[in-house]
């Protein structure tokens, strides 16, 4: 057997086989390369966004001194003042990261932006940067100024390229950030944070122990002397209070300064005074209701030792809903005011309150009634400023006056405390973003698997395209095979010979296939970054080639080729002596069985469709119904062909001729039916089965707007006084808000291609979440930390399941295990973990502002407009819940469009391979055509008969498949949208036309070849 000559002789078949192998290899290796490329791009993005950064040191909500980066360990480190801000471009608010940096020679009023932001800005050379006010005293505490946001007008002087760190981003995301770079010192001055930084990026890999060795409390603004401890942020972090309180030494004195509303005795009142709580005063312990008054206060209140004084003050638990509380205190002692002045620890420095010349200049978030401030109060202020008018027992007010930021404003010790300080005592935390980023990129969305599934039909069609010419060739060579058998060749040897002959062709085609794989992956990457960017929200995918992946792809492809070839050769050898199928007149039993089964199935299918349509609306059941539909009509087809062929009426007609011809090649026709009907069904059912927004929209608790605030909102917007304060009084009365605390971590929505380990957490009262489909597990104790995640984020972004544990870093620096207690339907909170606000506050007590709001109103559009305008300095992004849900569902939609496109291509390829079957049938019908001509059948009639014979089943299959797919989308018939429906219709028409003209062409060619007998 000369395989070379055989290959040459049958080259027209081998050309098709080569094309099929190349196509299959292209999709196979291309998909694998795509996986590598997306992963490689994500890894590249990690390098791009981190630059040389190996270690990140942050100070939580607090700040560090810039001197930290002067330590020798920090020789390759840079200090930053990083803030979230936003820039308005036209009517759009662009959330930006504001990097206060020393690296560039930026002057006051100058700004550099990165390339993505420049693109968004267009020709805009000046920009107004909005920033949340950052003070040393956290804005969540009670005694801060009323301005929560500030602005900077800046001129764009340059663009920071990727190489220069323009795309610096510490979050595990592939989307390019919008960055602005300003001079750190100018930014610090604007925020009154001179000499402060809140982030250090180092090019060196720094261990925690190394940081601990170079860090001192002073660098976190904690001023420790031999006998005192104060803090830049006024409130001493709880860690430190506890750490010093737990010493086995005599307890230090705790100071907690507060701004009280009134000190009252009978008809005498002193409004708005500083009072400090201490646990002892000059060696004398203060207990219970003790108050030591300054002689100034005693004089104004006309009190003696032993008298009672009422002290009233504001308290707040959550947000800034103020309550007024009063305590009756007993005057233990009256001391000279000067003695209070001598102890500087009694006076805390609250911004807005302490650094003003007059009481009327107080800039406070508290509702201070200036009408109550008298001349004598102003006089006191001019002389003594924030000197307390009294001291009270620490224990008596500790609960009321403490907040998330601390329970003391100063400490005094009898001797310098000997403790080993750790950075996390002052919320200074260290992490290594590169390792996290690379882990996230490596575990990101598996595009290889995804595109292998999406391109499955192309691979399947390629196999058919490979198989059909092989079958046709071996059918033509049956005589040759018989001859080999007659000559004494063993079947095994014949198989081997034929295998060798064909596999060599496949082997030679495979490198071309791999090469085509490059083209396929390059094209797909381009499409993913442009036309299909809805699935990735990412541009600039770069081809990354891993030789091992290429080899694996080629090997898998060759294995598929070998198996297909072996199967074809085996089946050809086993049917080498087969005859034409014969007409069996005794088919009644089979026909009867087919009739019964198909009738029952039809009844069952229709019943299921009706029941599901009226009552259940279950998408999966509709898909099952669609499949049953195809099965039913497949059996009907078989039954019809068998039945009509088995009954022999005396009248012979053309339809009979067509049916008989169909039956003669029933196997091929049934193959065509199943391939086409299932192909059409799968492609269209998946392509048209758009995600149902209805369910997601129902789980919005009736809220109409999702509001994302760049500046944490510290108020309860449901409170009428707050609305008045924020100029929101014109909001319709029916307007209701639901606020969420937010601990920003990784984006876990489908927009992030990286694997996520800790998604962003939203804190809310879980009872409120029942309207969103989140049913809290009542069995779980709130003592443990649990969270809930939406189903998609849990499965795809985290690749976890319910019961698994995530580890979050608390503000105290502990790694806290948080159990995934359950899921909620994917909707407006997609990508966010939901946690009880109680647990949230335990983990991140300082993140007390609301960053996410839901709003509903009887006049929603009006309410949204009022909110946006009144709170424009908060950088609110107000979107309807429909818009937000659609944004997430767009990803799924894009993937479905990709599937529809690739599936459509696969289907067209499948049709092309079916043409080969048709061609084979027509070749086998040469004698029939000759006979038709000999008996005087006109050519149009012969053409008509042959066209009908070869198109009847494929057209029937396409119709059944298309109707099946319509059944499968009955759960959400309008979900696909007009464009997709039109696209599907066009694909369907193209399939019909392609089949019709392809078969017609082949019929004409066969008839023309028969003209000269």
């Amino acid at each position: 057997m000369s395989t070379k000559q055989s290959r040459k002789h049958y080259r027209r078949f081998y050309r098709l086989v080569t094309a099929a192998v190349i196509l299959m290899m292209a999709v196979l290796t291309g998909s694998l390369l795509l996986g590598d490329s997306v992963r490689g791009t994500l890894v590249h993005r990690v390098s791009e966004r981190l630059g040389k950064t190996e270690t990140v040191i942050t100070s939580g909500t607090g700040f560090m001194n810039e001197t930290l980066v002067q330590h020798p360990l920090m020789k390759n480190a840079r200090g930053y003042l990083l803030m979230d801000g936003f820039v308005s471009v036209g009517e759009k608010l662009l959330p930006v990261y504001v990097w206060g940096t020393d690296a560039d020679t930026l002057q006051e009023g100058e700004v550099m932006v990165n390339e993505p932001l420049l693109t968004q800005l267009g020709n805009q050379e000046d920009l107004v940067l909005h920033l949340p006010s950052h003070h040393l005293v956290p804005s969540g505490s009670l005694f801060v100024t009323k301005s929560y946001a500030t602005q900077m007008r800046l001129h764009v002087v340059g663009v920071k390229s990727v190489e220069e760190g323009g795309n610096l981003l510490l979050k595990n995301e592939q989307t390019l950030p919008l960055n602005v770079f300003v001079n750190r010192q100018h930014l610090a001055e604007k925020m009154e944070l001179e000499g402060k930084i809140n982030m250090v990026l180092s090019d060196d890999f720094i261990e925690e122990e190394q940081l601990a060795a170079c860090w001192t409390p002073e660098q976190s603004g904690i001023h420790l002397t031999d006998s005192t401890l104060t803090c830049d942020g006024v409130f001493i972090p709880l860690n430190i209070v506890e750490k010093l309180g737990n010493r086995n030494e005599e307890l230090s004195t705790l100071y907690l300064s507060y701004f009280v509303n009134d000190l009252i005795h009978n008809a005498d009142t002193i409004p708005y005074s500083f009072v400090t709580a201490v646990n002892e005063w000059q060696g004398e312990p203060l207990e219970g209701q003790d108050i030591i008054l300054s002689d100034y206060a005693a004089r104004r209140l006309h009190v003696q030792e032993g008298d009672s004084v009422s002290m009233s003050y504001f308290i707040t638990r959550q947000l800034k809903n103020l309550d007024t509380r009063a305590q009756m205190l007993r005057v233990k002692k009256i001391v000279p005011l000067a003695s209070f002045r001598q102890d500087s620890l009694l006076m805390a420095d609250f911004p807005g309150l302490t650094r003003v010349e007059n009481c009327t200049d107080w800039d406070s978030d508290l509702p201070i009634d200036m009408n109550r401030v008298q001349k004598e109060d102003e006089d006191f202020w001019h002389t003594y400023r924030q000197t307390p008018k009294a001291v009270v027992s620490y224990e008596a007010v500790k609960k009321d006056w403490s907040n998330a930021f601390g329970s003391a404003t100063a400490m005094r010790f009898t001797s310098r405390p000997e403790v080993s300080w750790m950075p996390h005592d002052a919320d200074v935390q260290l992490y290594h973003p590169r390792a996290q980023g690379l882990k996230g990129a490596a575990g990101g969305v598996d595009f290889a698997g995804l595109f292998l599934s999406l391109g499955f039909f192309i691979i399947l069609s390629s196999v058919l395209l490979m198989k059909n010419p092989l079958v046709e060739m071996f059918t033509q060579r049956q005589g040759e095979i018989q001859l080999y058998q007659q000559l004494g060749f063993k079947d095994k040897d014949i198989r081997k010979g034929l295998f060798k002959e064909a596999f060599t062709v496949m082997l030679f085609a495979s490198p071309w296939g791999a090469l085509a794989g490059f083209a396929y992956s390059t094209l797909t990457l381009w499409l993913l970054g442009n036309v299909w960017s809805g699935a990735t929200h990412t541009e600039g995918f770069v081809l990354h080639v891993q030789p091992l992946t290429l080899i694996i792809g080629v090997l898998i492809g060759l294995l598929i080729c070998a198996l297909t070839l072996w199967w074809v050769i085996r089946s050809q050898l086993s049917t080498v002596n087969s005859q034409f199928p014969t007409v069996n007149s005794q088919l009644s039993t089979l026909t009867c069985h087919l009739s019964i089964v198909s009738s029952i199935l039809l009844l069952l299918t229709i019943s299921l469709i009706v029941v599901n349509f009226i009552y259940l609306h279950n998408m999966v059941l509709f898909i099952v119904c669609g499949l049953l539909w195809i099965l039913t009509w497949g059996l009907f087809l078989r039954r019809e062909v068998e039945r009509r062929s088995s009954t022999m009426p005396d009248v012979v007609n053309r339809k009979q001729l067509i049916r008989q011809s169909v039956r003669a090649s029933l196997k091929q026709h049934l193959l065509a039916y199943w391939t086409l009907s299932l192909g059409v069904f799968t492609v269209f059912a998946v392509g048209l089965n758009r995600p149902d927004f209805t369910q997601a929209l129902q789980a919005t608790g009736g809220y109409q707007f999702y509001v994302d605030s760049r500046v944490p909102i510290q108020y309860d917007l449901n409170n009428p006084s707050v609305r008045h304060k924020l100029s929101l009084q014109s909001l319709p009365d029916s307007t209701t808000f639901l606020g969420f605390l937010r601990h920003t971590q990784d984006e876990a929505s489908c927009l992030n291609l990286n694997q996520v380990s800790t998604p962003t957490v939203l804190g809310v009262d879980l009872k409120e979440m029942e309207a969103f489909g989140l049913i809290p597990d009542s069995q779980l104790s709130t003592a443990n930390c649990q969270l809930y995640l939406d189903e998609e984020a849990l499965t795809w972004s985290l690749m976890k399941s319910v019961g698994d544990t995530l580890f979050y870093q608390s503000e105290r620096g502990d790694s806290v295990p948080v159990v995934i207690a359950g899921t909620y339907p994917t909707g407006i909170f997609h990508g966010n973990a939901i946690m009880s606000s109680e647990v949230f506050r335990r983990l991140w007590p300082k993140e007390g502002g609301q960053e996410v709001l839901l709003m509903k109103s009887s006049r929603p559009e009006e309410a949204a407009e009022i909110l946006s305008m009144a709170m424009n300095e908060y950088g609110l992004n107000v979107q309807t819940v429909e818009e937000r849900i659609k944004m997430f569902f767009e990803v799924t939609e894009t993937y479905l469009i990709i599937f529809l496109t690739l599936g459509g291509l696969g289907l067209l390829l499948g049709i092309f391979s079916l043409m080969i079957i048709v061609r084979k049938n027509l070749t086998a019908q040469r004698s029939t055509i000759r006979q038709y001509r000999a008996t005087g059948f006109p050519e149009p009639l012969i053409r008509h008969l042959l066209l009908h014979e070869n198109l009847l089943v494929p057209f029937y299959a396409i119709c059944v498949g298309a109707i099946g797919s319509i059944i499968s989308i009955s759960a959400n018939p309008g979900g696909a949208g007009l464009t997709t429906l039109l696209l599907a219709l066009v694909v369907l028409v193209v399939i019909f036309l392609l089949l019709y003209y392809g078969v017609k062409y082949m019929v004409n060619q066969t008839i023309n070849n028969q003209k000269d007998l």
Binding site: D650, A664, Q931, T935
Partner: protein, 232 residues
Amino acid sequence: MLCLKNITKRFADGQRSLTVLDHLSLQVEEGEYIAITGESGAGKTTLLNILGTLLTADEGEYVWSVKDNGQPLALSPQPSAPNMVDRICQLRNQEIGFVYQDHRLLPQFTVWQNILLPTLATKSASTEEEQRRALELMEFVGITPLKDSPVTHLSGGEQTRVAICRALINQPSLLLADEPTGQLDAANAQMIATLFQQVNAQLHTTIIMATHSAEMAKVAQKTYTLKEGKLK
């Protein structure tokens, strides 16, 4: 009935041209039974195909003078009259019957369907008259019990008889037979020879038969030998 005058047919054989029929002439009268003998490759099948209008001659005249409104129908050179193709198809269907050596029965159909196949060339279903005629023909050739049998189940002789029935179903005036007994044993060949004689005698059908068999040629009224492209 038909007249061939100076018919020439050439086939290309690679670079050279092979003349199969060389200025061949033949006059056939109604009711004649003509046998054409000759060596393999002499051009017998080509001649039958030209007579049966399946091939057109390169040169010469072929005129058919029966049943065409009394007017002779020139088939070669083919006039470019409108509907000429349809008229030729109609002529082939109504006036000419073919019997081939390999029968050319369609394996997907039954005996009955094969016989009635020619009736479907001009209409979508067979008529009762045609069915009655088919039964008569089957009886005539002795294959009535095989009516609903698949043709693949038949012997060579039976298949030839089905082919004869099919050729006669439209009552053609000319029956062309190309080696009808080529694959049959002597007994079957004899039976077919007798059958052809009966068809000619009882149905008055003109028969032109190409054969190698001297026995078959013997029963014909005229015998020609095709040699070097000419009938002798």
